[in-house]
Amino acid sequence: MSSKTKNLPAHLALPAPRRLNNAWRLRLKALALPALIILVLEIVVRVGWLPSYQMPAPSDIALTLRDLAEGALWKHISASLLRVLLGFAIGASLALVFAAWVGLSREAEAWLEPTFAGLRSIPSLAWVPLLLLWLGIDETSKIVLIAIGAFFPVYLNGVAAIRNIDRKLVEVGQMYGFSHRRLVQRILLPAALPGLFTGLRSGMSLAWMFLVAAELIAATKGLGYLLSDGRETSRPDIVLAAIIVLALLGKLSDGLLASLEKRFLAWRDTFNGHSAED
């Protein structure tokens, strides 16, 4: 045997009950701060230190949410969700194609990268008036805007991920006489995966941001519309309810990508932070 035998990661060796306990403790730690904030807000508003027409009590927001859930909320959520998913799918897949192209070929980089760098320096929201002029105020302009928003983080991280691949690993494939395609499949793609996931996750969060921008400007349904509706009718409870729903959906979509990331990238040998017991 080798002189240095490493043990398996400690968490695998722990008995199950202790793990469950730990998981719950983590969850409680996560909830402590939000619970405290909600409690303080409730008290501050109920006592009257903050006027309720500006800052509704958390319990009032919960009631508003319930009312909305019985009515139009689902229509708004499904409209927004559809836009985000469609825009993200289009933007991210185009970005992946271009990232692979530019990342793998220096020729493509010479042709494309300066243009993308130029386009990237345009703040994406500056496209809004142009998109409205060209595509009108219906769905297409919103989805295109979201796709633009999602494109650049995915593209940038994708190119960086490919260019950061360890040359020494690639050389192993060259040693075996791998064809270009096999090199991509067996070494480049798996090695670039961590960076690609980083890009996809930041692309997803930008997609939500651009959704709100698009819907604030011109929409008749969607969570962004709910926000501007709440402002126009002086209903901060509606605005806050919409914000909460947006936060939940953003967290949900990111959590989905994060769990995929965790599954595909379990092999990574990374620093996970110090635990309290250390």
Binding site: S2, S3, K4, E171, R182, R186, I187, P190, A191, L193
Partner: protein, 237 residues
């Protein structure tokens, strides 16, 4: 006359304006172990890459009768996303020969680690996997580029013995690049002492000792003194 597995003649190899290798003739017999001994940056690795066919731009000739030639790098260079088993069968994609891989895992002393990911391996264990990966294609010649320079001294000795065992069992010729005099003498039938840049072969030392060898053998000490003298003359040390 015995047939050479490899017969390499490098008249000249240059990188831009610097000549790295100059007038080198190197032959490798079946089942022979030959070490190239020299300082870092003297062109040993370049010579090895020429032999491996990774470097094609040189003046000279490479004649090879060896069917398969495999390479073990200085670092393990395992794919971190693949298990030990998948890494060993890496060259055959996902349809590698499971029984052969299992046998290799046993032979390099990693039984039970077949599903382990590289991140859970120590440096020595990872290099064992790298050696097994080199053996997977059943090579006749194994090229090793300072394969044990990154592990501690005790692990290195164990890995050296393991390498000799495996070469013996599978009838493999070894061509090894190293800057470790003891390693070169302990492992090899012939040690080629390299000059400084532009390097050529300065001296050939035959180590006429049967395996298994004793690291304390006086002949090894004697040869070590000889090669150190030669290295000193070459202004390497």
């Amino acid at each position: 006359m015995t047939e050479h597995l490899l017969d390499i003649r490098v008249e000249r190899k240059t990188f831009a304006a610097t000549t790295v290798l100059n007038n080198i003739h190197l032959q490798l017999l079946p089942r022979e172990t030959v070490s190239l001994l020299g300082p870092s940056g003297c062109g040993k690795s370049t010579l090895l890459r020429i032999v491996a066919g990774l470097e094609k731009d040189f003046q000279g000739e490479l004649r090879s009768r060896a069917g398969e030639v495999a390479f073990v790098f200085q670092e393990p260079r395992l794919m971190p996303w693949l298990t030990v088993e998948q890494n060993i069968g890496f060259s055959a994609d996902n349809h590698y020969d499971k029984a052969w891989v299992a046998q290799l895992i046993e032979e390099v002393g990693l039984g039970g680690f077949d599903q382990t990911l590289p991140k859970a391996l120590s440096g020595g264990m990872a290099q064992r996997v790298a050696i097994a990966r080199g053996l997977y294609s059943r090579p006749q010649v194994l090229l090793l580029d300072e394969p044990f320079s990154a592990v501690d001294a005790f692990t290195r000795m164990k890995l050296q013995d393991l390498l000799l065992q495996l070469a013996e069992r599978h009838a493999i010729a070894l061509l090894l690049v190293t800057h470790d005099v003891d390693e070169a003498l302990y492992l090899s039938d012939r040690v080629l002492v390299m000059d400084n840049r532009p390097s050529s072969i300065r001296q050939e030392l035959a180590v006429e000792l049967a395996h298994p060898r004793d690291r304390r053998d006086p002949l090894l000490a004697q040869l070590k003194a000889l090669s150190l003298t030669e290295l000193q003359r070459a202004h390497v040390i």
